[in-house]
């Protein structure tokens, strides 16, 4: 026996035996083993040990007891003296998983003792036991623990089976971890494997349909983050959830490589989320990234595919001849008798409109001397107005019609390559990953190229001290366009007439320049010109941390992390010449931003099991600081447009613009949580957080956010224990308060004054010099305090039939009080920025349900099914003291806004007149007017303004006999009744198949595409079949659209009305994947090889006629279609290789 050279110094009187033994364990590497029935550990002894050996010391400790000891390696065995020196029992073995892969890091412990070890990288363990008796416990996260009786065996190999997740899975929650089955709050644990079946750069996009309680609305644009809402609406402003990535809070996970994600939890209710206090109200998403495990593995995942835009005549566009016919119809309907037309009938002699050969010069026929190409002159890179004024454009008519949709939407490739190298064992772990993601947009010249690198490592100093870091660096290039913008490029494509070709006779751009060709801009030109623009963003995100265990039950953790994000962009605005409305100046600009933030978190946690009591306490502090800044500059009038020449120095001296700003804010917090369980049967949780924010005035700086919840595992009660089909049943309930301050600015509490050229400069001297002036920028509200989201949740988790079926359901209710809103002020107050005040109120309730089933059919076929259902009902209960509603969205081309947020209604509802039919004759109009005169007593009264036969008849909602502003009403709701995701997974031998169906039901869409295309008078845009073939005429009263005419009217398309509202329900095959796994390639050094084919958006079932019923938008304006970037269908082939 090799005795330790360690010498002890202990000098104590009247101490317990156990405390001395504990001190020995703590100050040396020895573990002391004894039996409670043999040792009186509470006996008081006196120790005088100076430079004493372990033998000397133990002799003193055991004095007066008939005991002796035996030291083997680092093991001290105490036993009755006189007992024969039992043979020291050495045991070894290997731990593997079900597939035979060795498992490092498995804890092997002799039951009822501290005697334990962990398996090494080869999965081997060896342990010296006091005897060949007792039981060994093998525990490892993610696997079912196993207990094996030693029974004198010297080698015990163990095969661990992976957890049946539902019951033993450990999930990361606020500042701690919990077994999933012990959760008392509403937490959706997302299956990361399913996430990664959707090819995307964004975990948010992948989240659609995967978690009950989470609504995700995306678009087809690369890099455009979808709208993520957890349990509907929480505030009138920013509703983005808080993401906590490896413990670091952030609002932006767009740069997170989805391949790096290890776990993904959604904290939905107060009891789970309010420990994040001030930032919890929108819900919290906790993400952890992968770390290395086991022997060195190299994992390579890649896919390549093509994205295909919708085919066919997507917007049901008339061809050029039909466009001419429609014009004729509209003119006829408007009483025009002279059908001279510059394009279609230049000499006025023809009886019907025919197409010209050229649109510029207007109406020219082949052979017209004005079309002689030698007369053509356009200088696309012109720099002077004089030059521009001398252009002589010649453009052929495209008689077949230009398909503008498919001029800008083309099939585009998508690819991702991801490599991860990792390893982990008792000394630590590392993981490096690199990802290259390149998604070209189906809209030309949009794309996302992203490079991400990650290095996660942990170092285990010893058994009790760990340090580690998680760091990710990303470089992103992502030029985007704005969707649903009435003047955006997609809307330009739906506005541009089909007779206009993309290019003129010389190959320069053609456009709306010319007679009767509308006012849209050439969308191809817009995109192609944007090629010289560039933007790139760089981001470093991550943290470093250290953990120390002490006094057995305590762990101290400190983590410092955050974000450094910066980026720059430059753009060149070419002068245009092909459009009706041209920009004649050229300009160049650069913008850059530089932001950072950090979060420093310190927590102390305590965990102890005392018989059936399991208590876990975490307390901590957190400090957060952020700094944002940006600068930009622009110049004009470049001599040359060569992208290599153009920079901020080379523009002309006049028209120099520059701007910039910076801001900073802080949060300071303290928090605590307690989790208590009794026998796994009665569970209780309480959290509290105190947040201080620099955005509030001194008096209101701090807010308190408490929460409590409890759960009862009924299935453990005697009356249910014997119900064989019920494996687990737990009911849960919770209440708490979450906070919000996202929408505030640092200036909110103050009256501030500033100076800006547009607002307050004036050329007072009468010359061309402007003089700065001051104006009130911000109205102050020192009384603003924390917005409170008071949240209640009840739910249950049930596992049936031995895990074959599990159900989780939650009902919640959120009462938002003191909602921070900046209600419009009376005009008499003046124009300073209205501060946020705690004025509004809102309520949201709903149901989240998840059902998971696992069925084995025969020996080879398994079916995994997950259904998640989300509902939310949102009601505004107060807007401000003075008004009961506010508008959102822009008014587009209407006379008033159509999105109205009003007390008693959900956010985002559509508002306008209700169409009840057409006015079919003047008699009908006269009769209605006569009635209006009668009912109002006003001889000039009319029933409805601006009517004539063929226009809409509106409902007299208030029944006062006339239709006026008071009869506008709520005519549509973009909020779905419910959304649902259905994941179906099938495995058959080496094949696996997975399909995700996603559906949204009961939501309505504002189809503003109709504004441009179903009304002849809506500018001279391309029109729809409906306008020509299904509009009211004196002989067709049973029509869809009103009469086509030259007038725009509030009784047809120029005011919001129910004509624009459509049912937006849909079911979509979000993705489908078929894979095959090769299992016999180990000899070739390949652990695992899987290949798959996959399709995204394979089909969509919907009654909606537009390009895509899934419409991304803002917080308060969504479900609006005015040229959306539709999600394409994507076909992929992919591979997963493990080496």
């Amino acid at each position: 026996n090799v005795f330790s050279q360690k010498l002890f110094n202990i000098d104590k009187e009247q101490v317990t035996v156990s405390s001395v033994l504990k001190q020995i364990e703590q100050s040396s590497e020895y573990s002391v083993f004894y039996r409670l029935d043999q040792l009186d550990k509470n006996r008081l002894v006196t120790i005088h040990a100076h430079q004493a050996s372990i033998e000397d010391l133990l002799t003193q400790v055991l004095k007066g007891q008939a005991l002796t000891y035996h030291v083997v390696d680092h093991l001290i065995i105490i036993k009755p003296s006189g007992a024969s020196i039992a043979p020291i029992f050495a045991i070894t073995g290997i731990v593997t998983d079900e597939q035979g892969q060795t498992l490092p890091g498995v804890t092997v412990k002799l039951s009822g003792t501290n005697l334990a070890t962990v398996t090494d990288v080869q999965g081997k363990y060896s342990l010296t036991l006091p005897s060949g008796e007792g039981n060994l416990e093998f525990t490892f996260i993610g696997f079912v623990s196993k207990t094996v009786a030693v029974n004198g065996q010297q080698r015990i190999d163990v095969r661990l089976t992976a957890d049946s997740k539902a019951l033993t899975e450990v999930v990361v929650v606020g500042y701690t971890t919990q077994r999933k089955k012990d959760l008392t709050g509403a937490v959706s644990v997302v299956d990361v494997k399913n996430l990664n079946k959707t090819a995307s750069s964004s975990v948010n996009t992948q989240l659609q349909g995967q978690a009950p309680g989470v609504t995700v609305i995306g678009s087809g644009q690369p890099g455009e983050e979808p709208q993520v809402r957890i349990r509907g609406f929480n505030t009138f402003g920013n509703n983005t959830p808080l993401y906590v990535v490896d413990g670091i809070p952030t609002q932006d996970v767009s740069t997170l490589n989805p391949n790096d994600v290890e776990s993904f939890q959604v904290l939905k209710d107060a009891s789970s989320a309010s420990i994040y206090g001030a930032r919890a109200a929108n819900g919290v998403i906790i993400i952890t990234t992968k770390r290395g495990r086991g022997k060195v593995t190299i994992q390579y995942d890649a896919y390549y595919g093509t994205q295909v835009p919708k085919s066919g005549n997507v917007w049901q566009t008339l061809n050029p001849q039909e466009m001419a016919d429609l014009k004729h119809l509209a003119q006829t309907n408007s009483g025009i008798t002279d059908f001279t037309d510059e394009q279609y009938n230049p000499d006025g002699k023809a009886s019907r409109y025919t197409l010209p050969d050229y649109i510029v010069p207007a109406g020219a026929k082949n052979g017209d001397p004005a079309t002689d190409p030698s007369l053509y002159y356009v200088n696309p890179n012109y720099t002077s107005g004089d030059d521009f004024n001398n252009f002589n454009r010649i453009t052929k008519a495209n008689k077949a019609g230009t398909d503008w949709y498919h001029e800008i939407f083309k099939s585009a490739p998508i690819t991702s390559h991801n490599i991860a190298v990792g390893s982990g064992g008792e000394n630590g772990s590392y993981l490096f990953s690199a990802n290259y993601y390149n998604q070209q947009g189906t809209l030309i010249d949009t794309y996302q190229k992203r490079y991400t690198l990650r290095a996660n490592s942990t170092f285990n100093f010893n058994k009790h001290i760990r340090i580690g870091e998680n760091l990710a660096y990303s470089v992103t290039k992502n030029p985007k366009v704005s969707g649903n913008n009435p003047d955006g490029v997609i809307t330009m494509a739906l506005r541009q007439q089909p007779i206009i070709p993309v290019y003129d006779i010389a190959g320069n751009y053609a456009g709306s320049y010319g007679s009767g060709l509308g006012d849209a801009n050439n969308p191809v030109a817009i995109q192609q010109r944007s090629k010289v623009n560039s933007d790139v963003g760089y981001r470093l995100f991550g943290n470093i941390y250290a953990e120390a265990d002490f006094l057995n039950s305590f762990t101290f953790r400190t983590s410092f992390g955050g974000d450094i994000a910066n980026g720059n962009s430059h753009y060149f605005n070419y002068p245009t010449y092909e459009n009706k409305e041209n920009t004649q100046t050229n300009s160049y600009g650069e913008d850059s931003y530089s932001n950072w933030n950090y979060t420093w978190t310190n927590t102390l946690s305590f965990h102890k099991e005392i018989r059936k009591h399991d208590i876990k306490v975490v307390a901590g502090t957190e400090a957060f600081e952020e700094y944002d800044s940006y600068i930009g500059a622009s110049r004009q009038n470049y001599f040359s447009f060569d992208p290599d020449y153009v920079n901020l120095n080379t523009g002309s001296a006049s028209g120099i613009g520059n701007y910039g700003a910076r801001s900073t804010s802080t949060l300071l917090s303290a928090f605590a949580r307690v989790d208590y369980s009794y026998g796994g049967k009665y569970l209780f949780n309480a959290t509290i957080r105190r947040d201080g924010s620099s955005k509030f005035s001194k008096e209101n700086q701090y807010g308190y956010f408490p929460a409590v919840s409890a759960a009862w595992r009924l299935s453990q009660e005697n009356f249910l224990k014997n119900v064989s089909w019920l494996s687990d049943l737990k009911i849960r309930g919770g209440w708490g308060i979450m906070g919000n301050q996202l929408n505030l600015t640092q200036a909110n509490a103050y009256y501030t004054y500033g100076s800006s050229i547009g607002q307050s400069y004036y050329p007072i001297g009468g010359g061309t010099t402007i003089v700065p002036g001051f104006y009130q920028q911000q109205i102050g509200n020192p009384d603003a305090k924390w917005e409170k989201d008071i949240n209640s949740n009840i739910g249950f988790d049930a596992t049936l039939f031995g895990g074959a079926l599990s159900v989780t359901a939650d009902y919640y209710r959120k009462d938002i009080k003191d909602l921070l809103f900046n209600p419009e002020q009376l005009g008499t107050v003046g124009n300073g920025t209205v501060p946020y005040v705690n004025i509004a109120k809102m309520r949201t309730d709903g149901l989240d349900v998840a059902v998971t089933g696992k069925t084995k059919i025969g020996s080879d076929l398994t079916l995994n099914t997950t259904l998640s259902v989300t509902t939310y009902n949102n009601r505004i209960s107060k807007v401000s003291n003075s008004s009961s509603y506010f508008y959102s969205d822009i008014s587009r081309r209407f006379d008033v806004n159509m999105v109205r947020n009003e007390v008693g209604h959900p956010i985002g509802q559509f508002y306008g007149y209700k169409v009840v039919g057409f006015w079919n004759s003047q008699d009908e109009i006269d009769a209605a007017n006569a009635k209006a005169v009668q009912s109002s007593g006003n001889p000039n009264a009319v029933y409805q303004n601006d009517v004539k036969p063929g226009r809409f008849r509106y409902a007299d909602v208030n029944g006062d006999g006339v239709v006026n502003d008071a009869d506008r009403t709520f005519i549509g709701d973009p909020n779905p009744d419910f959304t649902a995701g259905l994941n179906l997974g099938l495995t058959y031998k080496a094949f696996d198949f997975n399909i995700l169906l996603y559906g949204s039901f009961g939501n309505q869409i504002w189809n503003n595409v109709k504004y441009w295309r179903d009304f002849y008078a809506s500018f001279e845009t391309a029109k729809s079949y409906t306008a020509l073939y299904d509009s009211w005429t004196p002989t067709n009263h049973n029509a869809k659209a009103p009469i086509q005419e030259l007038d725009a009217s509030t009784s047809s398309g120029s005011t919001p009305n129910s004509y624009f509202v459509e049912n937006g329900s849909y079911v979509r095959a979000r993705n489908a994947q078929l894979g095959y796994t090769f299992t016999n390639l180990k000899k070739a050094g390949i652990q695992k090889l899987r290949i798959y084919v996959s399709a995204t958006n394979l089909f969509t079932i919907t009654g909606y006629k537009g390009t895509d019923p899934e419409l991304n938008g803002g917080v308060l304006n969504f479900g609006i279609d005015e040229g959306t970037y539709a999600t394409p269908r994507t076909y992929l082939i992919g591979v997963n290789v493990s080496l």
């Binding site: 004024n389 409305e581 006049s654 307050s760 004036y762 061309t768 008499t828």
Partner: protein, 572 residues
């Protein structure tokens, strides 16, 4: 740790820092800066499009009363169409933008008054001159509100509750501010763009005129006409050339009494100081050198007003539409067209661009090609606020999607003063002086030096003009037979205002204060509707449409405790 939450505000100042002479100076500039109704970024200062709060009231004073058609396409800016047809309801967002722009001006003026009260150390009269400027500006904004909406809430520097009722006539408040300004402002100011004593006097007299207090108005007008000077010290007089009132090169001429100062190309991010409110009002179409937008098209009815009797050179006061000008309606630019050969007032071609006539130095107006939708809004283009070609680099401003210009927007010019003076003279019995004043304005128009001439070379319009008048111009002066009675004198004066000040935003408000809005506007709508679609179905309702409705949004916002404090105007 407590300090951890002390984070500074960046890029803004708190109030006390402005309580200095320099702070007051800059707050006053900020008050002037609201005159243009703009906040930059093509937005009106209270939100909405730039044009919704244009200081020249081209929508509310011009389109609404037949000076011009809305223009552009039917679907474009439909709230304006409902204003020109008098079908608008209180929810029309344009009215709210206009309301908010004026109250922002008032709020800034009040801030100057509150702040200057805390600052001392001014030389004698200096503080009063500042207070007087702030009160002048406040009265200007209230005047604008008063003529638009009639009853409006009154807020001054002592008001703390901004939810005030609109149950009081504010003319006395406006009078008080202008009176103080008239008494305390300097005649000559350090900057040409400031309000001076004479601008205040004129505005006070104009206030009296609107109140039908003719003797009070007359007394001041007479003083202003004889003694008044511009802020830069020039005695008031009519410019020799009519067009010099609308050229950036002659901004702040001797005829300028008070003008919104404009400067082109001073804001790299837009046209915020360059007549942003008029950005839509440029010819539009093939070959038009302007990017946008084809609004504010002079009406056929207006153009017919410029017909003169070939013998006398006087207008047909009642029967102008019986002597219509030939139009190019329905004629494409490719087809031949000869412009009207009859006699016209030369001011026509500085007011309305028409086919076949030189359009400033841009070339011969090509007719239909520069008009967005002839059948909808007629064949004419606006001119007064359009910059010329030779000067486009300095007077035009291309920093936005539609043009800006450096042309000052006249609030009051001396010709306006003469015609207002003529009104007060006629109303108080001095018909001869009334005639003299009208004839002063006509004599300037008659001076051939100020006419439009053919180009020397039509292919090089910037090369200058020949001595061949562009049309058959003839202007004569009135004799006393036209001014024999108050009624006939007023008829001539009203007509002169129409043609001299056409498209300068006065017409609607003039018609209302004269009490003839219903008959004039309804006959205009009937006549114009024969040619252009846009006004068909329009009807002015007497007893209602003389004022615009109080914006519904403001009424809704004044609803503390359920019942709104603001009361809607009659019959809305």
């Amino acid at each position: 740790c407590k300090k951890y939450l002390d984070k500074p505000l960046t890029g803004a100042l708190e109030g006390p820092l402005l309580e200095t002479k320099e702070g007051v100076r800059d707050l006053l500039i900020g008050t002037y800066a609201v005159l243009d109704g703009q906040q930059g970024g093509d937005a009106a200062i209270g939100g909405g499009g730039a044009w919704e709060a244009s200081p020249d009231n081209w929508i509310y004073g011009g389109v609404a009363a037949g000076d011009a058609n809305k223009g552009s396409d039917p679907g474009d800016q439909t709230p304006i169409e409902s204003i020109q047809k008098f079908t608008t309801d209180p929810t029309n967002g344009f009215l709210n933008s206009k309301w908010k722009a004026d109250y922002e001006g008032i709020s800034r003026a009040n801030l100057v008054l509150k702040t200057v009260a805390k600052v001392n150390g001014y030389a004698t009269g200096k503080k009063e001159n500042i207070i007087a400027q702030a009160r002048f500006l406040r009265a200007h904004y209230y005047f604008d509100l008063k003529k638009m909406f009639d009853k409006v809430p009154y807020i001054d520097e002592n008001t703390t509750d901004f939810n005030q009722p609109n149950n009081v006539d504010i003319w006395p408040k406006i009078e008080a501010d202008f009176t103080y300004a008239y008494q305390n402002l300097l005649g000559q100011q350090e900057d040409a763009g400031r309000a001076n004593k004479w601008a205040a006097g004129t505005y006070l007299a104009k206030t009296y005129l609107y109140e039908h207090k003719f003797p009070e108005a007359r007394a001041i007008f007479e003083t202003v006409v004889t003694q008044g000077t511009t802020a830069n010290g020039q005695p008031y007089k009519l410019n020799d050339n009519f067009e010099d009132n609308f050229r950036a090169a002659t901004n702040n001429s001797a005829e300028s009494v008070f003008a919104v100062q404009a400067a082109a190309n001073v804001d790299p991010n837009g046209i915020s100081n360059a007549n942003n409110g008029d950005m839509l009002n440029f010819p539009y179409g093939d070959g038009s050198p302007f990017g946008c937008c084809g609004f504010y098209q002079p009406s056929i009815d207006l153009v017919n007003h410029f017909r003169t009797n070939p013998a006398t050179g006087l207008p047909y006061l009642d029967a102008y539409n019986d002597h219509p000008l030939k139009t190019d309606m329905g004629v494409s630019s490719a087809q031949d067209f000869t412009p009207d050969q009859g006699t016209v007032d030369p001011r026509l071609d500085w007011t309305a661009g028409r086919r076949g006539i030189p359009y400033l130095d841009w070339g011969i107006h090509p007719g239909n090609n520069w008009v967005r939708n002839q059948a909808y809004a007629g064949p004419y283009s606006p001119i007064k606020m359009v910059y010329g070609q030779a000067a486009q680099g300095t007077e035009g401003d291309g920093h936005s999607w539609a043009p800006g210009s450096g042309i000052n927007n006249n609030i009051i010019r001396f010709a306006d003063v003469l015609l207002m003076d003529a009104e007060t003279q006629a109303q108080t019995g001095n018909l001869f002086r009334a005639m003299e004043l009208v004839n002063m304005v006509r004599a300037r128009a008659a001076n051939p030096a100020g006419w439009v001439y053919q180009y020397k070379d039509p292919d090089k319009p910037t090369a200058g003009f020949s001595d061949q008048p562009a049309a058959n111009y003839k202007v004569g002066l009135y004799d006393m037979s036209y001014f024999a009675t108050k009624e006939s004198a007023l008829k001539a004066i009203y007509y002169e205002r129409k043609i001299e000040l056409a498209l300068e935003g006065h017409r609607f408000f003039d018609l209302v204060r004269w009490g003839i809005a219903a008959q004039e506007i309804n006959s205009y709508l009937a006549f114009q509707g024969k040619f252009t679609q846009d006004v068909r179905g329009g009807r002015f309702t007497a007893g209602k449409n003389e004022v615009y409705p109080i914006p519904q949004r403001q009424i809704d916002l004044s609803g503390a405790g359920g019942s709104p404090k603001l009361i809607q105007n009659k019959n809305y």
